[in-house]
Structure formats: structure tokens, C-alpha cells
């Protein structure tokens, strides 16, 4: 366990929540559930009015340079205005780009000069004292309090957990427990009353970060992942990144249309999972019906816990 990091995660007070692209316009239930859950845990959550993409997808394609990406991150973080010390992301991609930009402050003189002068030109400065955590890390730290707030236990739900490469491998030394054998999401699942099940391809990449021009590879990766998950017949798939969510959500729809599978297993973000356990409305508050894999909630394995109310 990365004790140093765990210690720094705040247990109360103000948080700056940076939602990122996908959780605003594709899976907006991630944003709403995150805000609701954090508020129930007693935090004071600030969400910036405008959301800018951190630039990572374009950086990975070779279009944006790291300096451009870091400057955009600086523009995003500047909205903390010295009032917020702790920035939370709900996405492994944003987590990776923001942490890289924060490390760059310490390491690279020449690059920082370019970034600072670009930021100054639009009236901002790069905030110096900001920590960036993934919301899943905070949930792990708060698991005791979370367990006390459970109103709809996930009893009997078998859950397949996927962590995601950009969290585990892009900043290996910042992983909460271990990049090779991570356990913290699985532990949150037990806290909520569910059972985390093992599956063969637990470590396999979801395929989503592949360039959009190389569909075949993305498809093959996600397909292998899903087939391995289906073998264990879970009720739910848990992710901590909207990009992974999209890959694992979409592939099932494609495989369904090719008649390779005949049911879908809902894929949810960790904030939505905790929202479920807190008894929030699966449609209005968690937006689960906006996921391809759980459009028809009453037919999905989730009905086991939903119908009891």
C-alpha cells in the first residue's frame, strides 16, 4: 500500500472535481453520480463551469506536443484559483495527463518556460500546490464511511473488476496499492456487499486507447476481454475510467449484433456503483440507462437488487 499517498487524500473539505470529456457528454451519469456520492460523504464539491478536454487523446495520436497538452492542463488547473488544493478526476486518462503535467513542473525548466508564458498570455499561471487524485482512490480511503451509508447492499452481485492501463502503468509509483496486483477496487466491492470475481484476462487492456483508425485491434482486444469475463457469468462489470467503460460497453453491443453473445452485462463506473449502493435512482441520478449494456435495466442482472425496492 502506498501509505504516503493514502495519507494525503483528504477525508473532508473542499474538492475540485474535473469531469473530463466522456463523463460529460457520453456518460453524464458518471458526473452526476460522482457529485452525489461525494456530497453524501460530506465533501464540498466544486465543478468548473466549463469543461476542457485535457488533450490526452490527441497527444497519444502524435498530434499535440506534450507542451501543448500540459498548457491545457495548466489552464484547467488554474481554475482552482488557490482555493482548491485537491483535484479529483473520474478518468484514468485525465489522471495520467494531469499527473504528468504536475511532474513536469518539477523536472523540466525549458518546457515550463514555454508553458508558463503561454498561460501568462491568457492571464493564468500554473498552480504550484495542487494534488491530483483519482476518485476511486478517495473512495478506497473512505470505505468505512461508505459502508455506513449503504442503503441498497449489492448482496449476491458477482462483479468483474477492470482497473485500466493508464491508471496502473502510466504512473506506476503513484498507484494506490500495486500495479501488478491491484486490490483496492475489489475491496470497495466487498465493502458494498458485492463479490469481486476473478477472470482470466483481468489484466488485459480494454483496447480503447488504440488509434481510432485501427479498429480491428481494438475490437479483438475488447472481444477477448469480454469473452473471458462472460465465462465467469458475472452480474456487473466495474471500471474506474469512462474510456474503458466505452470500450467494454460498445463491444458487447457489437458482439450482440453479430450474434456472438445473446445477453449484455452492465458496465458501470465506480461512482455509479457506490451510487447504486447508496440507493440513488439508477436512471435519473446515475444515468445507467444511457449505457448500451444497461439500456433495459429491468431485464439486466441489476434487477436483482433494483426490484427489492
Amino acid at each position: 500500500m502506498n501509505v504516503e499517498k493514502l495519507k494525503k487524500i483528504p477525508e473532508e473539505g473542499d474538492l475540485f472535481l474535473y469531469p473530463g470529456c466522456l463523463s460529460v457528454n457520453i456518460y453524464p451519469g458518471i458526473e452526476t453520480s460522482t457529485i452525489k456520492v461525494l456530497s453524501k460523504l460530506g465533501y464540498n464539491v466544486y465543478v468548473p463551469e466549463e469543461v476542457l478536454c485535457c488533450g490526452l487523446p490527441l497527444f497519444l495520436a502524435g498530434i499535440l506536443s506534450s507542451n501543448t497538452m500540459y498548457t491545457i492542463v495548466g489552464r484547467i488547473l488554474a481554475e482552482t484559483q488557490d482555493r482548491y488544493e485537491n483535484v479529483l478526476t473520474v478518468c484514468n486518462g485525465c489522471y495520467s495527463s494531469i499527473n504528468s503535467a504536475l511532474e513536469n513542473i518539477k523536472n523540466n525548466g525549458e518546457s515550463m518556460k514555454i508553458i508558463e508564458s503561454a498561460l501568462n498570455a491568457i492571464g493564468f499561471t500554473f498552480p504550484q500546490n495542487v494534488n491530483c487524485f483519482h476518485v476511486a482512490e478517495l473512495f478506497y480511503k473512505m470505505r468505512q464511511k461508505i459502508s455506513e451509508l449503504v442503503e441498497r447492499p449489492l448482496d449476491d452481485l458477482r462483479i468483474a473488476v477492470h482497473y485500466g492501463c493508464h491508471y496502473l502503468y502510466s504512473h506506476q509509483n503513484k498507484v494506490l496499492d500495486s500495479s501488478e496486483h491491484p486490490k483496492f477496487l475489489d475491496e470497495i466491492v466487498s465493502t458494498l456487499g458485492g463479490t469481486s470475481i476473478d477472470y482470466e484476462e483481468k489484466d488485459l487492456c480494454c483496447g480503447e486507447p488504440a488509434l481510432r483508425s485501427i479498429r480491428n485491434l481494438s475490437f479483438e482486444l475488447a472481444r477477448r476481454k469480454i469473452l473471458s469475463i462472460f465465462e465467469e457469468e458475472p452480474d456487473l462489470i466495474l471500471v474506474m475510467c469512462p474510456s474503458c467503460l466505452r470500450a467494454i460497453d460498445k463491444i458487447q453491443f457489437e458482439m450482440l449484433s453479430f450474434e456472438e453473445i445473446d445477453v449484455q452485462i452492465p458496465v458501470v463506473h465506480i461512482s455509479q456503483l457506490i451510487g447504486l449502493a447508496f440507493g440513488l435512482d439508477p436512471r435519473k441520478e446515475l444515468g445507467l440507462n444511457l449505457h448500451l449494456s444497461s439500456r433495459d435495466l429491468d431485464q439486466s442482472p441489476l434487477r436483482k437488487i433494483l426490484s427489492e425496492r
Binding site: C53, P57, L58, G62, I72, A118, S179, L204, L217
Partner: protein, 166 residues
Amino acid sequence: MGELNKSLSLEILLKCLQCGSCTGSCPAARFSQCNPRLLAYHLVRRKFDDVKNDNLVWLCLICYSCNVRCPNNVDIPQLILRLRENALLSGLKRDVLDLYLSIVDILMEWGMLTPVLSEEIEMFKRQAGIKHGKISDQTRNDLKTIFKLTSFHEKLKMFEKEGSLK
């Protein structure tokens, strides 16, 4: 282009042991011709044409698995990003370039890479009181300035696409 490749070669030559741990841990290698060890080999042997034309550069997921498992900490993802940039700048991979430049247009309109795609999502956001939509002109101008001052414009000129951001 030559200069860049030379410095990449040197970096790898000094560090890569050709042990293959990277390829062994590479998820893309399981389902495609992606092969980080081979890429390093081509670079060390200065077979730049093999690198340039190679799908190796485009099949990588930038998942960082190889980087974590490499015994000598060779930064393959970083190398691949530089090779990608290089290939785009030299006019290879026109299709990839056009695709991503069209995404830049979406970014300039929304500030995000993902526009709202359905009425259903629009409605959910409205009911939930989520207001994030397209960015303001002010923020759009901020982005343009950032692009200009961090040399993205020069790159766009090389891509012959600077028009879209003027």
C-alpha cells in the same frame, strides 16, 4: 527527420538488451503485428525505412505495459509517440492525420472531443442540472493562443491545415 531518428537510435542502443520483455507484456502484440522489441531492433540497426513503413508505430495502444516491465526502463511509448509525430509531419499516414484534425475541429467548438450525440443525453443533462456545453468564445480564444504559443500552429502549417484554427 533523420536527426530525430538518429537520436532515437542512440537512446535505444544504449539501453535496450533485446530481451523481449516488452513484447511479452504487450497486449497489442497478442492480436496484431505490434512488436516493441522489433521496433527497438530496427532503430538500433538504423533501418529507418522499416520503422517508417511499419505498422508497429500505429498499432501501439500507448498502454505503458512494456515500459513498466522493461528491465532497463526503455521508454517505448515515448519513442512511439515521437515516431508518430514524425510520420505525420513527413506526410505519411494522411488518413490518420485527417481523422485527428477533424477531431481538433470538434475540440475548438466544444472544448471537448465528444459532442452530445443524442436528445436522450441532452435531456438527462438538463434534468440533472449539468450545464457544461460548448465553450465560450473567450475560452476558445484561450485555446487558440495556447496552440500558437506552444508551436501547435507551426505544426498545423506543416500539416497544411492551419486554416481551421485561425
